[in-house]
């Protein structure tokens, strides 16, 4: 097992990793930018290194400084969290080359899955269901038109290096294709430095269903059930739950089997998430594999009892997977609300000092956050400041518990999305579990 892990991240996920390391008896090194010198993750770690100014490109994403921090502290592994360097194949490769373990998949895994068009190809070749779309990256507008006409409009153009809704365009008819193609390429280029795009059939009101997988280096793969992340605003998830109200045992086995086959096809290892689109006819289609720990991993932990960060560390250390598929029992139901430092109506960021922070407690309530009274929400990074997670014996109980916990959560000094979450939880469609990726748009309009 590792002796000392450097956590190349900040905020709640850095604290999450440090907590797991402490429980495993592993020493930790926090890195931080100058803006985060007083962060809770910095104080929680055994050692800390300032790696640059506030701008993440010069600190958290600055590979030489991050690796130097690992070198001077003698860390033998780096946990990248999510975001920042977590899906950077080059970073993973450099770590491998200098003998520091990257806690995640291999750089080849990351590179392969990072090319979304390529990943679809591999999965489709295995005979698994993939959203109808272009066979690979589109080379030209003509290519795009041909593919779109073959699968039928509407279609969606996506960046091959994409994520977070950037470089995406929905196209309803052939006339609009050319402009959308160029716009998507330009956005992909400016966001990811890579103008590769591909296209897929665009589904109306689909659900976003993802399956958590664990894979060891000996080829064993298990899945830990699905997460329903349909409640999104501009492709940013806001509320996640497991099990999905739309997935029954039979569908779960089926979609789980496909997820496991997909990662086996890619010789993938460590933790990962296979994303699917579930249409109204309960057909599901592979979309992509996320090669990092997900923000919403806690809800899977709540229903399985499995600490995903610890598993991730054990797998990276070369341990064989101790969990067998038949040992995975999903107990009860769990929801997560992402609390962002944003205006709950206009979604404008709301940085500032938290004058009072009082998290909810009691049975079935979990809070993952690096905030506290007096902490500053700095404007340089992601606006998510806390994840509120509840667990109950069934969906009704975990929803009731979430409402209760949202009512208790006090964050003063800045605006947060807590009021929005309270409203979502009161929504009749949400309560019935009738949601799709278009839910929030309609909800906010109505």
């Amino acid at each position: 097992m590792f002796k000392k892990v450097l956590v190349a991240n900040r905020g709640e996920i850095a604290l999450r990793v440090i907590r797991a390391c402490k429980e495993l008896g592993i020493k930790t090194v926090a890195i931080h930018s100058e803006a985060d010198a007083l962060g809770l993750h910095v104080r929680a770690a055994d050692e800390k290194v300032c790696v640059g100014p506030a701008e993440s490109a010069l600190s958290y994403r600055h590979i030489p400084n991050v690796l130097s921090a690992a070198e001077i502290t003698g860390a033998d592994a780096i946990h990248p969290g999510y975001g920042f360097l977590s899906e950077n194949a080059h970073f993973a490769e450099v770590c491998e080359s200098i003998g520091i373990k990257f806690i995640g998949p291999s750089s080849e895994n990351i590179a392969m899955m990072g090319d979304k068009a390529k990943a679809r190809e591999i999965v489709a070749k295995r005979g698994l269901p993939v959203t109808p779309g272009s066979p690979g990256e589109l080379r030209s507008e003509e290519d795009a038109l041909q593919a779109a006409q073959k699968i039928g409009f509407p279609v969606i153009i996506k960046a091959t290096a994409g994520g977070g809704g950037r470089g995406m365009r929905v196209v309803n008819k052939a006339d609009d294709l050319s402009r959308a193609f160029q716009a998507a390429q330009a956005e992909a280029k400016s966001t990811f430095g890579n103008d590769g795009v591909y296209l897929e059939r665009y589904f109306l009101e689909p659900r976003h269903i993802e399956v958590q997988i664990l894979a060891d280096q000996f080829g064993r793969v298990v899945h830990l059930g699905e997460r329903d992340c349909s409640i999104q605003r501009r492709h940013q998830k806001l509320v996640e739950e497991t099990p999905s109200p739309a997935v029954d045992d039979k569908l779960r086995r089926e979609i789980g089997r496909v997820a496991v086959e997909a990662v086996k096809a890619a010789h993938y290892r460590n933790v990962g998430t296979v994303e699917f689109l579930l249409d109204k006819d309960r057909q599901f289609y592979f979309m992509e594999v996320n090669t990092r720990i997900q923000v919403e991993h806690p809800i899977t932990e709540m229903v399985t009892g499995i600490d995903l960060i610890k598993e991730q560390i054990r797998l990276a250390a070369g341990h064989p997977l101790a969990i067998r598929q038949q040992d995975v029992a999903l107990t009860g139901h769990s929801i997560e609300c992402r609390i962002n430092a944003e205006d709950p109506e206009k979604f404008t960021p709301s940085p500032g000092v938290i004058t009072k922070y009082s998290p909810p407690g009691g049975f079935g309530v979990r809070v993952d956050s690096a905030m506290e009274s007096g902490a500053a929400v700095v404007p340089y990074y992601d606006s998510m400041i806390a994840k509120l997670i509840t667990h109950g014996r069934d969906r009704q109980e975990s929803v009731a518990r979430m409402k209760r916990a949202l009512g208790e959560f006090v964050i003063e000094g800045i605006k947060t999305t807590i009021p929005l979450h309270r409203r979502i939880l009161e929504d009749p469609d949400f309560q019935k579990g009738h949601v799709s990726t278009t839910f929030l748009e309609r909800f906010l309009a109505g």
Binding site: E34, L38, E47, G352, V353
Partner: protein, 187 residues
Amino acid sequence: MSPRRSTHSKAKTRRIVLPNTDDAVNPHASLTGGSTKQIQELIDLLRRNNLTELEFEREGIRIRVRHELAARPLAASVPEPLPTPPQQSTYSASSAISVADTSAGFVTVASPIVGTFYRSPSPDADPYVEEGDSVRKGQVLCVVEAMKLMNEIESEVDGRLVRILVENAKSVEYGQALFLIDPKAAS
């Protein structure tokens, strides 16, 4: 590196060291008498500068000024969070961050990268500089090793090297102060 920093202020504060106490308030004037006029001046000072705290002590010549982040009538604008922001930080692998230390008029040379601090180009060689040496702008002061690369750190001012703040072969963080230079003593 100090494991577990124990101090933590409740809010991120920006400390302003007032360059000249006489400009602010002359403490010797009449505070002994407890004149409220003097205090009102301090309050006005606090207001004008949009601070949240202003502390003044005479014996130890101490002035403490606090501006808390959320102190916002100016809440709309984005807060300035950096504890000691390099005022003219030009990041580059080989040029130092220099910060004017107004309290004593010295310039601080800080490490622009994370790595290991070496005073000489190789174990057998002489140190680049010693305390008391005159230094010129562009002169190499030390190397910081990172990723097996030796990064030469140059002085950005002319002056006299007052203090070497880090021991040889110790690791340094980004922004860590390495040298103090007195630019007034430029020969």
